[in-house]
């Protein structure tokens, strides 16, 4: 069934199809439409779920955690300050190994007060133990929502699917909504590994002594490691049903390229357009889209970027005092590539607080990357210093 819908509603439809049992959320622009549509679905009975209204995002995640411990499939959505307010609870969900799925509509952090997109809200939660998947189109948003539950429940880790404010959340695109019976085949009812059972009560999240804490974190890391392979299997299964797959990392016209752009989110679509144009003019230019940020697809990136002459990483985010976060992560990943294969890496910081990243901007970046022997510094601020 094809429908034209905004990205937010693509999330809602994915949640509906996933037969989520408990939803708890607190409204925040630009996410609100996701849970608005879901509350309608719950109210009219099309989604037989419990919708728990709460007074803050912290409580929303707490409610999801409780519901997840009770064995249900749970979902929430948020943005920016809301996600920041959840921070403590994000650790509880991940450390509790609860397969909560959350949509984060990327919105820049205040102050200055803003509702427009950048990735600093989700990337600030990098070390909470959540799987993070960044989406480029509304179709990908729908597909990733359904996949997120499958992945989360297979490895007992929470998954955050991420989409850009307004460029996706409020923009309409055609979305092929997979039929319910197909989704049911792909995603059966959750079978919880650890579940609160009133007939055999146990304390969850209780005190752990130094002789066991490290092991618990090791288990979490093993699950993250496993998630890379599980995600491939999830995509295989989804592709068999729908014919669509995205990959943790996608290479676009990357063969024989001497310069590769690295993007995530909606900047990718614009970059594809620029790559097509410059390829037509004979330029050996390609693109690598990073969908999965945690667990980090280190091997895939080494394979794709190793041996390429130059790499330009486009970061719609910044770690103050360092630089673009994807660029830093990729630099670290490439450290183990043999020195001769290490590309010259240009890290561009751009598009913060919703500033538009147009084909002209990307063309400037490509020209700059080609014209310099090496970057002057780790962080190149597009539109400010460039």
């Amino acid at each position: 069934m094809k429908k034209v819908m905004i990205g937010n509603h693509a999330v809602s439809w994915g949640v509906l199809r996933s037969r989520v049992e408990v939803i708890s959320a607190y409204p925040i622009t630009p996410q609100t439409q996701i849970v608005e549509a879901l509350s309608d679905m719950v109210a009219d009975g099309s989604l037989p779920a419990q919708y728990i209204k709460v007074e803050s995002e912290h409580s929303a995640m707490a409610a999801c955690i409780g519901a997840s411990i009770a064995g249900t499939r749970t979902f929430t959505a948020t943005s920016a300050q809301g996600l920041a307010l959840m921070h403590e609870m994000l650790h509880w969900a991940a450390g509790g190994r609860l397969p909560v799925v959350m949509a984060d509509v990327n919105r820049a952090m205040a102050p200055g007060w803003t509702i427009w997109t950048d990735q600093n809200d989700s990337l600030s939660q990098r070390d909470t133990g959540w799987i993070q998947l960044y989406c480029e189109t509304n179709q990908e948003v729908f597909d990733t929502t359904v996949q997120a539950f499958k992945l989360a429940e297979a490895v007992n880790l929470p998954v955050m699917l991420v989409l850009d404010a307004f460029f996706l959340s409020h923009t309409s695109e055609p979305v092929d909504v997979t039929e319910q019976e197909d989704v049911d085949r792909f995603l059966p009812r959750r079978e919880a590994t650890f579940k609160m059972d009133t007939s055999d009560p146990h304390a969850f999240g209780a005190l752990v002594r130094p002789d066991a804490y490290t092991e618990m974190r090791w288990h979490q890391q093993e699950a993250m490691r496993e998630a890379r392979e599980v995600f491939r299997e999830v995509e295989d299964e989804w592709e068999a049903i729908t014919g669509r797959r995205y990959g943790a990392v996608e290479a676009y016209r990357a063969d024989d390229a001497d310069l590769l752009l690295v993007t995530s989110g909606t900047i990718t679509s614009t970059a594809r357009h620029v790559v097509d144009q410059r390829r037509a003019a004979g330029e050996k230019l390609g693109l690598v889209k990073v969908k999965m940020f945690r667990p980090f697809p280190t091997d895939e990136l080494r394979g794709l970027l190793g041996g390429v002459n130059r790499v330009a990483v486009l970061d719609r985010n910044v770690s103050p005092g360092r630089g673009g976060i994807f660029a830093e992560e990729i630099r670290a990943a490439l450290y183990d590539v043999p020195p001769d294969d290490r590309p010259i890496l240009f890290g561009y910081v751009l598009g913060l607080g919703g500033r538009d990243v147009t084909p002209a901007v990307i063309n400037d970046i490509i020209d700059n990357t080609r014209s310099k022997a090496s970057p002057e510094r780790e962080d190149l601020w597009v539109g400010v210093e460039l």
Partner: protein, 591 residues
């Protein structure tokens, strides 16, 4: 160099569970030992129950409806009120004035629900007549709401009952005073048939003191006197005496209600601001007259039911406020109208209403063909023996209606109490209980004090279900006879829902139409309206206590109620705080 690789977890490490879950069961952690206060389920009294002069478990029947137990709801209603189809139509519903829901949005339309249940009861086959279990007999004088209620409850208590009615048909003021458009005769007849059908003898056209002497009642073991108030007060209009154009309104109503259609001429003035005045005005309107109500105060002070005033106004009755009739005006021996005195409001009088004071010299002429006076009625108590003491023309009685002359009891408009159908029904019920208690005592059966306080809903009227102990369909949890006010409730879990308003006739054309004007609510609407009830003070199994208990110490009992596992209740009080209706109390008792 050690053969152990520090980067590989040891076997023991692999055996640590991936999440922090206790190895032992937490059943062994009795958090209940922490508490210094503990919750207790205690059902209280909803303000509607306490506010009902009849003593109806309104909250109880609303709860039963919300559970889909409509028949049981009707049954609970009729066990407290023998004529719900009547009161659902004509009661001034003080229950709605005390409804806590008014603080949330609008009060529950209790009268509409009662009416719908009342009509259902009339449509269903009657319940079997109560068994005669007592040898004593009781006489009831008057078959108005007080008399019929008393007779009904006495019959249920097992007595033989004979009702004496002066008029040719039973019903008292319900039949004589209330017009058909408010209370269709078919409804009234069936309601009375139902009551009489339970083995009650009604002797009509039998006025005590005229048709038979008072001494004829000596054969009865007790007498309940409820003759009503039928004598219109003197209008004090100069020149009115003997003038046929100035008539007591009640007399006119009795004529119309008996089926007559007297000619009042084209212009009618009704004097008064109570329900009788409204009934006169609207009846006269239906006979084709232009009607003006003359009232000496303002709309705020009118004792009539506001809805009656609104309907009268909608139908075209005119109002002349702050005006009092002075004198009849005759021209050529023909009545042409009355002169009226303009009034203004002065200091409040003993009723708390501001006293009307004449404005010197401000007099006007109001043309009329007929003047109907409706300024109150007095009682004719001349048939009573002197031993039954009266005060200001009313019989003196104790709380259960016992007069100064045992075994004479009294109630209704002939005693000092609000003059309403509901108050009359309530007085009849109280007196039946009083008579039952008296007759048990007289028969030498050990009965002790009548526990009147415990029989009442809060400080309201008595409950027949409680007195008869014939089974409350709703199990009450440790009932406490205390009314729950809005401040004891937790409104945060309630949803706003508009009140269902009755459907009314088209008021634009009603000349000579005595058909019912208020059609009430449909069954579906009435059920939805009942679901608006907040069940103040009474556990309606909403489960919020169970949901909010952080220790999962609350669980469902088999009977639908809840139990608290005190081994785990740590006394946090969340259940009491979250309970929307004040049915959970925190206490130190028992710790």
């Amino acid at each position: 160099m050690s053969d152990h690789d520090v980067t590989r977890p040891k076997e023991i490490g692999r055996n640590i569970p991936p999440i922090a879950i206790s190895e032992t069961s937490t059943l062994v952690n009795p958090t209940g030992s922490w508490k210094y206060i503990m919750p207790r389920y205690e059902d209280r009294v909803a303000p509607c129950n306490a506010g009902c002069p009849v003593g109806i478990d309104i909250e109880g029947y609303m709860y039963l409806i919300s559970q889909g137990r409509v028949k049981e709801a009707a049954n609970l209603l009729v066990r407290e009120n023998p004529m719900p189809a009547v009161t659902g139509r004509v009661c001034h519903h003080p229950c709605e004035h005390s409804c806590n829901r008014a603080s949330l949005d609008e009060p529950v339309a209790i009268h509409s629900v009662e009416r719908r249940l009342g009509d259902m009861i009339l449509a269903a086959p009657p319940i079997p007549a109560p068994e005669r279990t007592r040898r004593e007999t009781v006489a009831v004088v008057g078959s108005g709401p007080a008399g019929l209620a008393c007779a009904h409850f006495l019959a249920r208590l097992g007595y033989g009952v004979s009702v004496f009615e002066a008029a040719s048909e039973a019903g008292g003021m319900l039949r004589l005073g209330i017009p058909e458009y408010r209370l269709p005769r078919a409804i009234l007849d069936r309601q009375i048939e139902r009551i009489a059908g339970a083995g009650i003898e009604i002797r009509t056209s039998t006025r005590i003191g005229v048709d038979i002497p008072w001494s004829d009642l000596d054969v009865f073991d007790a007498v309940f006197v409820a003759p009503g108030a039928h004598t219109g007060k003197d209008s004090r209009i100069a020149g009115a005496e003997g003038n046929e154009a100035v008539r007591p309104g009640l007399e006119f109503l009795k004529e119309v209600n008996a089926g007559a259609r007297p000619d009042l001429g084209s212009r009618v003035i009704v004097v008064g601001g109570g329900n009788t005045a409204m009934d006169c005005a609207r009846s006269a309107l239906r006979l084709g007259a232009d009607v003006t109500v003359l009232y000496r105060r303002t709309p705020r002070e009118m004792p009539a039911i506001p809805l009656e005033v609104r309907e009268a106004r909608d139908e075209g009755v005119g109002f002349e406020f702050l005006a009092a009739p002075m004198a009849v005006v005759m021209e050529d021996g023909r009545f042409t109208g009355i002169t009226c005195q303009r009034m203004e409001l002065g200091e409040p009088d003993e009723s708390g209403r501001r006293r009307p004071v004449p404005i010197e010299g401000d007099v006007f002429f109001a043309p009329a063909d007929t003047v109907l006076t409706a300024i109150g009625e007095d009682c004719d108590l001349s048939f009573l023996p002197e031993s039954v003491r009266t005060k200001w023309g009313l019989i003196e009685v104790d709380p259960v209606g016992e007069s100064t002359s045992t075994p004479v009891f009294a109630g209704g408009d002939a005693v000092d109490m609000p003059r309403s159908v509901a108050d009359a029904l309530g007085a009849g019920k109280r007196a039946a209980i009083g008579i039952d208690h008296y007759l048990h005592e007289k028969a030498g059966e050990a009965v002790g004090e009548l526990p009147l306080g415990a029989l009442r809903f809060g400080d309201g009227n008595v409950s027949a279900v409680r007195y008869l102990e014939d089974g409350d369909p709703i199990p009450r949890e440790a009932p406490v006879n205390e009314v729950v006010t809005w401040d004891r409730m937790n409104p945060h879990h309630f949803h706003l829902a508009p009140r269902h308003e009755d459907h009314f006739h088209d008021a634009t054309d009603l000349r000579a139409a005595f058909g019912e004007t208020n059609f009430g609510l449909s069954e579906k609407e009435a059920i939805e309206e009942a679901e608006r009830c907040l069940n103040c003070g009474v556990c309606n199994r909403c489960e919020l206590c169970l949901i909010f208990c952080p220790d999962m110490a609350i669980s469902r009992r088999e009977d639908g109620g809840f139990e608290i596992d005190m081994r785990y209740c740590k006394g946090c009080g969340l259940c009491a705080a979250e309970c929307p209706r004040g049915a959970v109390t925190m206490t130190r008792e028992g710790i």
